[in-house]
Symmetry: C2
Subunit: 409 residues, 2 copies
C-alpha cells in the first residue's frame, strides 16, 4: 500500500509540481472539485485586473485599442490544442447550453431528410433539456431519443440526423471512445456533436484525427476560468462555410458597423459569435489558460491518471468493500475524476467538506472527486483518503445535520 | 447663449453632482459615450474584487455561501424600479440578443393562431437578425415585417402575434410612446416586447402602468455594468405561469440538483435562467447598480433633459445650420442622447475623439452623443461643444487619417 511518505516522494519528483504555486489555494484546502469549479489562478486575477484597468482608462475605445472584439477567437485558438483543433476552429462565447443549442440547430439543417437526435440517457440533464427544446424549433418534426449509449449501434439508422454525447460521463467519469463513436455515427450518415465539459483541460483528445463535426465545452471546470465562465464552440473547418449560426447577432455579421438590416454572416468561426460577450469573464479565462502554457496536455494526462489510480488504490485498500468504484479502471476509459457509489454518498460528501475535503454529490448515490494535476499533490490524495477513512470510522456522515439535502455541493 | 461660467454655476447647484466621484474618470475625459459603454464605478470594481475573493477563498462552496445562485434574481429586483417593474419580474442573464430570442419564442407560443411579428425598420440591426432567425424556429411559418413605426396602426391586424420595438431609437435618440403603443398593440390582440437597451438607467418608464408583456435590456450602457455585461429579461407577473423558457437549462429546473432527465420549470421568473451566468460579470453590474441607489430616476431624468437641452442649444447657437439635430426637441420623445446628422459625421467623431471628446458614429451620417447624468457635468457639455466648434473651424474632420472608416467607435 502506498504510504504518505511515498506520496511526498512522488510530489518531489513531479515535473509539474511547481504549477500549484500559480494558484492561491489555502494550505489546508483539499480541493477535489476542480471538475465543478476550478480555482482562481494568479494569472486569472491579473487578467481581470488588467481588463478593469483598460475599461477604466480607455472606456469604449478599449474595444479597438485592446482587441476586445477578437477575444472570443483568440481564446478559441488557445483552447484549440487541448482538443486537437486547428486555429480558427473554436470561438469562446455564451454558455455551454446555448453552444449546444446553436450547434444542434446548425447540424439539423445539414441533414434535412433526417429527423432523429440520439443522446445519452446518462447525459448531463441540461444537455437533454436543450436538445428536447430545440427539437421543437427545428422547423420540422424532430424526435430526441435518450438511449443507452452502449446500444448506439442498434439506434443508428438513416433517420438519425445527429448524435450528441458528453465525452466524459459527469457522474461516473467514464471517457467514451471519441474516434470510434464518431466513425460509427458518420458511417450511418449522421453528424456528431460532442460535449467536452469534463474533457477540456482534463485529458487530451484529437477532434481532427477523429473527424469530429462539432463540439462544445465550458470554461469553469478544468480550464479554471471562474464561476459561470463562458463556453466554447468547435466547428470543423470544412463545415464553417456550410453551417449557419441559428441564433445570429451583429458581432457575427460581415460588416457589423454598417448596421444593415439584413443579416449576412462573416466568414469562418466568428459568425458563431452572436452579441457582446462579457469581457471580464473572457479575461478571467484568458488568464487561467496561461497556466496551461507552462505544461502540456500529455504531462497533465500522465499525472491525472497517476492521481486517480492512487485514489482508487487507497480507497480499495483502506476501505475494502465499502464503496463501489464506478469509474473505469481502464485508463483509456477514464476521465479525470473518480466516482464512488454509496447509499449514504450525500452525507459522506458533506462530512468530508466539513473536514476541508471538497468533492461533490451527484444524485442518487455518487460521491464525486475531481483530480486536477495543475494544483493537486499526491499527498493531497493520501490525506483526502485519510479523512474519508475517519469519516467512515466515526460515522460522521450519519450526523443529523446531513439528513436533509440542500443546494449545490 | 449659455456661457461656460453659467455651466459651472449649474454644476455647483446640481443635486447629484457628487455622484461623479463614484466613478474613476480622468479629468480631461469628456465622455459622451456612456450610451455605448458606461464607465467603471468604484463600487463595480469593489464588487468584482469581492467575488474574486469569494472564488479564491471558498471555491465551489461560494455558490451556497455567497448566494451566487440567486444573483440573477437579486440584480433583477435592483433593476425593477428603473422600469416600474415589481420584485420577481426581472432576471439578469445571457445577452440581450438571447433575451429577445427567448421572449420572442415564448410570446409566439401564446398567440398560436397568429403568424406575424412586426418590428421597426430603424431598429438596432441585431434585433431584426434575431427576430428573422427565430421566425425560422417557431414551429410554424412566421413572417417578420420591418415597418415604419409611425405606420404601426395600418399593420396591426388579427395576424399579428407580437410587436417588438426598441423604446429609444439607437440612432436618433427618439423615445417612443411606451403606454400608447403597448395599448394599441393590445387592442389588436397582439403582445408587446420592448427592447430597453437605451432606456434602462437613462430615463424612467413604467411597464406596470403601461401593462407591458415582455421587455429586455442590457447592462453595459447606462447601467455601467462593464463591457459585455449581461442582459435582463422582464416578464409581467401574470405571464409567468403561462409562458415557457424556450431555451431551458438546469438552473431553471424545479429541482436542479435532482438531475432529472425531464425538464420541469421552476415557478416564477427564475425559469428564464438557463445555465450558469458569469458571476464576475454579474458582480460588476451589481456594484454598478449601487451608484443608482444614491439618487432616483426622477433626478437622473431631470438632469438628462437639462444636459441634452444645453447641448442642442449650444450646437445650434455656435454652429448654426451646420448640423441637423435629429433628436426630438419634445422632452416626452427624447431619450438621453443627442444625434447630429452630418455627411462628414464619421470624421467629425474621430476628430473629437482625438481631442478627448468621445462620442460615436452610427452609419450612415450620425454623430451620436450620450448624456449620462451620474458623471457628466454641465461644463463638460460646454467644453465638448467648444471642441466641436474648433473641429469644424479647423476642418480637422477632413484629415486624411479619417478618410477610411474602421471598427468600433
Amino acid at each position: 500500500m502506498t504510504t504518505r511518505e511515498e506520496c511526498l516522494e512522488l510530489d518531489s519528483i513531479d515535473p509539474i509540481a511547481s504549477l500549484r504555486s500559480e494558484f492561491s489555494l489555502a494550505d489546508g484546502e483539499l480541493y477535489l472539485d476542480g471538475n465543478s469549479l476550478g480555482p482562481i489562478s494568479k494569472s486569472a486575477r491579473a487578467a481581470v485586473d488588467r481588463v478593469l484597468g483598460e475599461w477604466q482608462g480607455e472606456l469604449i475605445r478599449s474595444w479597438n485599442l485592446f482587441g476586445w472584439m477578437d477575444t472570443p477567437l483568440k481564446l478559441g485558438d488557445r483552447i484549440a490544442p487541448f482538443i486537437g483543433a486547428k486555429a480558427g476552429e473554436i470561438v469562446v462565447a455564451d454558455t455551454l447550453t446555448f453552444a449546444i443549442a446553436k450547434l444542434t440547430l446548425a447540424a439539423l439543417e445539414q441533414r434535412p431528410d433526417r429527423h432523429v437526435i440520439l443522446t445519452d440517457e446518462m447525459n448531463f440533464h441540461t444537455d437533454i433539456y436543450i436538445l428536447d427544446a430545440v427539437a421543437n424549433y427545428a422547423g420540422r418534426p424532430i424526435t430526441v431519443k435518450t438511449i443507452n449509449r452502449n446500444e448506439l449501434a442498434q439506434h443508428l439508422n438513416e433517420e438519425v440526423a445527429l448524435v450528441e454525447f458528453t465525452h466524459v460521463d459527469f457522474r461516473t467519469g467514464e471517457a467514451l471512445d471519441l474516434a470510434g463513436i464518431t466513425r460509427q455515427v458518420h458511417d450511418a450518415g449522421a453528424l456528431m456533436l460532442w460535449d467536452f465539459a469534463h474533457t477540456t483541460g482534463a485529458m487530451p483528445v484529437d477532434v481532427t484525427a477523429a473527424n469530429v463535426d462539432f463540439a462544445a465545452g465550458c470554461g469553469y471546470k478544468y480550464l479554471n476560468g471562474g464561476p459561470g465562465s463562458p463556453a466554447y464552440m468547435y466547428v470543423r473547418t470544412d463545415w464553417q462555410d456550410k453551417v449557419n449560426n441559428p441564433l445570429p447577432g451583429w458581432l457575427g455579421h460581415a460588416r457589423p458597423f454598417d448596421f444593415e438590416i439584413t443579416y449576412e454572416a462573416t466568414k469562418g468561426i466568428r459568425k458563431f459569435v452572436t452579441s457582446s460577450p462579457s469581457i471580464l469573464a473572457l479575461a478571467a479565462l484568458d488568464g487561467a489558460l496561461e497556466v496551461f502554457e507552462k505544461t502540456t496536455m500529455t504531462e497533465v494526462r500522465k499525472k491525472s491518471l497517476a492521481l486517480t489510480d492512487l485514489f482508487i488504490e487507497l480507497v480499495e485498500e483502506r476501505l475494502p468493500g465499502q464503496f463501489n468504484v464506478v469509474t473505469p479502471r481502464d485508463h483509456a476509459k477514464r476521465g479525470s475524476q473518480v466516482a464512488l457509489a454509496h447509499p449514504e454518498a450525500y452525507g459522506i460528501v458533506q462530512a468530508l467538506i466539513k473536514r476541508g475535503v471538497t468533492g461533490d454529490f451527484r444524485a442518487p448515490d455518487i460521491a464525486r472527486f475531481g483530480f486536477t494535476p495543475l494544483y493537486l499533490r499526491y499527498v493531497d490524495v493520501y490525506d483526502s483518503v485519510e479523512h474519508l477513512v475517519q469519516v467512515m470510522e466515526n460515522s460522521e456522515h450519519q450526523a443529523d445535520e446531513f439528513k436533509v439535502r440542500n443546494a449545490v455541493t
